[in-house]
C-alpha cells in the first residue's frame, strides 16, 4: 500500500511523459510512480541549507504540490549553501524566493507559501494538508514540533540535520518505525552544543544531506512499500573524512509520544521543552549592549573583557583589548578572574558565551558578569563598523 491513494491519480500529458521520461524508464518508478509523484503534496519545513536542494529536486521530479514554510528573509551569509536563493533575493522572504525558483524549474508544480514560523498553534493545520513532511529546520524547538505533529497526524517525517561537516538523515514514521523522540527523548540544554551560526557549516554538506532527503521523499511518494527507505535506520555522514555510516534505530516502547503508553497527546510548548524560556534559566549574568560597553570603556572604566572565540575566528575580527580564553579553557583558568572587577564575555553572536559564563559560575565565581549582546557581530554593527561581521 503506497502513501498516495489510487483515487487521486491522474493521467500524464504527452509533455509530462517527455519531461519525466527518465523516471518512467525506471521500473521502480514507472508511469504509476510518476502519477503518484504528480498527485503528492510535500511540505518542506525551512528553505535554508537543507530545504534548498529539497525544493529544487522535488520541483524537478514533478511533485504536484510543494509547500514551503519559512518566516526568514534571505541574507548574504545564506548564499554559501542555500542554493535556491541568489544575490538578487537578498532581503526577500525566503518562501518568495523559493517559489520563484521552483516555478522557473517546473511551472507544473503548485507552490504553497507558508510565510510564517511553524508553531504549536498552526503546525497541525498546516501539516495535515500534506502527505509527507521533509524537515529542513535548524533548531530543536521546531524539530520536536515537526516530529510530534507528524506522529499525531500519522505522517512520515523525512529528517535531515547538519553540523559543521557532519550530517544525519533518517525517515521517522511512527506507524512503521521509530520517531525522533525514540532516538532523542530530550534536546541538549541551550548553549551546550554550538549552533551552526556559531560553529560554522561546510556549504556543500546540506546539499548532500538535503539531496538524500529528497531521494527518500521521492521513494516514499512514488513507491508501494517502505522497503529501502531509511525507516528504522540512521545515516551518518562525515564530509571531512568522507565516511558514511549506518546505525540501527529501534522504536522505543517507552517513547512519550509513539510508545505503548504515550503521555503526549497534543502539541506542547517547545520553547519551554527546549529550556529556552527565561523563567527556566537561572540568572547567571546581565546583558550589555555594544554601545553601553563602548560608553563604559570610553569613560576609562577597568573591565575584564574575555573573548572566548577560537583562534581562527579571531583572525576574522579581533576585539581590542580583550583577553583570549577559548571556551574549553574557562573552567581551568578561573583563577585568572578578579571578582572585584566587572567581567564582559564576548563570542560571535552572544550565545556561546553563555556557556562560558555557566562554566565560570560552576567554579563558584561570584563576581559580576556581563554578556555582550550579539557578540562581536553586534560590536561590529553598532560600534566599530570597520570590523567585518561573519
Amino acid at each position: 500500500m503506497g502513501l498516495i491513494d489510487e483515487g487521486r491519480l491522474e493521467s500524464l500529458s504527452h509533455e509530462e511523459i517527455a519531461r519525466y521520461s527518465r523516471h518512467l524508464l525506471l521500473p521502480e518508478i514507472g508511469l504509476e510512480g510518476q502519477k503518484r509523484i504528480k498527485a503528492s503534496k510535500v511540505l518542506i519545513v525551512g528553505t535554508g541549507g537543507l530545504g534548498a536542494p529539497l525544493a529544487l529536486y522535488l520541483a524537478a521530479a514533478g511533485v504536484g504540490t510543494i509547500g514551503v514554510v519559512d518566516f526568514d528573509f534571505v541574507e548574504a551569509s545564506n548564499l554559501q549553501r542555500q542554493i535556491i536563493h541568489g544575490v538578487r533575493d537578498i532581503g526577500r522572504p525566503k518562501t518568495a524566493s523559493a517559489r520563484d525558483k521552483i516555478r522557473s524549474i517546473n511551472p507544473g508544480v503548485k507552490v504553497v507559501e507558508h510565510n510564517v514560523a511553524l508553531t504549536s498553534s498552526n503546525a497541525l493545520q498546516i501539516i495535515s494538508q500534506y502527505d509527507v513532511v521533509a524537515d529542513g529546520t535548524d533548531n530543536y524547538q521546531t524539530r520536536y514540533l515537526v516530529n510530534d505533529a507528524c506522529v499525531l497526524l500519522g505522517k512520515p517525517n523525512v529528517y535531515g540535520s547538519i553540523f559543521q561537516f557532519e550530517g544525519q538523515a533518517s525517515v521517522f514514521y511512527s506507524k512503521e518505525g521509530p520517531c525522533y523522540r525514540c532516538l532523542y527523548p530530550a534536546p541538549p540544554p541551550p548553549g551546550l552544543v554550538p549552533s551552526c551560526a556559531e560553529g560554522g557549516v561546510m556549504g556543500v554538506l546540506p546539499g548532500i544531506v538535503g539531496t538524500i532527503q529528497a531521494g527518500e521523499v521521492i521513494k516514499l511518494i512514488s513507491g508501494e512499500s517502505l522497503k529501502g527507505t531509511l525507516v528504522g535506520r540512521l545515516l551518518l555522514f562525515d564530509q571531512w573524512r568522507m565516511k558514511f555510516r549506518e546505525l540501527k534505530l529501534d522504536k522505543d516502547p517507552d517513547c512519550p509520544i509513539c510508545g505503548k503508553n504515550p503521555t503526549i497527546h497534543e502539541l506542547i510548548d517547545y520553547e519551554q521543552f527546549c529550556g529556552l524560556k527565561p523563567e527556566t534559566q537561572e540568572i547567571l549574568y546581565e546583558t550589555i549592549e555594544p554601545l553601553e560597553l563602548k560608553a563604559r570603556l570610553d569613560a576609562g572604566e577597568t573591565l575584564q573583557i574575555i573573548d572566548i572565540r577560537e583562534p581562527h575566528e579571531k583572525a576574522i575580527a579581533k576585539f581590542p583589548g580583550a583577553k583570549s580564553m577559548p571556551l574549553g579553557q574557562v573552567k581551568r583558568r578561573s583563577s585568572e578572574f578578579d571578582p572585584s572587577i566587572d567581567t564582559v564575555f564576548i563570542c560571535k553572536i552572544g550565545t556561546r558565551s553563555v556557556f562560558a559564563i555557566r562554566a565560570l559560575r560552576e567554579t563558584g565565581y561570584d563576581g559580576k558578569i556581563f554578556n555582550l549582546a550579539d557578540g562581536i557581530n553586534g560590536w561590529a554593527r553598532d560600534v566599530d563598523k570597520s570590523l567585518p561581521r561573519y
Binding site: Q141, L183, Y184, P188, P190, S195, C196, A197, D238, R332
Partner: protein, 94 residues
C-alpha cells in the same frame, strides 16, 4: 580497549580528535576514559548526577547500547564505540 568515535560537535572538547583508542572493557568505561583524558568534555557528556546526557546515544558497532546491556555492554579491541549526539543545523536559537 576499543576505538571511540567522537562526533564533530564534541571534538572541540577532545583535543580535536575524531577517534581515540581508549582503555575499558565496557562501552561506559571507554567513554569514562575519554572524560579522564579530556576533563573539559565531562560536562558535555554527563549530567551532574553522573548519568550520560540523554541527547547522546551510544552505539557499539551499528547497535544502540540501549538494546544491548547499556553502558555495561562489553567491548573488545576490534569494536568501535560511537557517540551520536543530537545535532540541529542552521541559525542561532534565539
Amino acid at each position: 580497549m576499543a576505538t571511540l568515535l567522537i562526533p564533530t560537535a564534541l571534538r572541540a572538547f577532545a583535543g580535536g580528535q575524531p577517534e581515540l583508542d581508549l582503555d575499558g572493557s565496557t562501552a561506559g568505561e571507554v567513554i569514562a576514559a575519554l572524560a579522564l583524558k579530556h576533563p573539559e568534555i565531562k560536562e558535555h557528556l554527563y549530567e551532574e548526577s553522573g548519568k550520560l546526557r540523554s541527547f547522546i546515544n551510544v552505539y557499539v558497532g551499528d547497535e544502540n547500547v540501549k538494546k544491548l546491556q547499556g553502558l555495561d555492554t562489553p567491548v573488545k579491541e576490534s569494536d568501535s564505540v560511537m557517540l551520536v549526539p543530537a545535532i540541529a543545523g542552521g541559525r542561532k536559537w534565539d
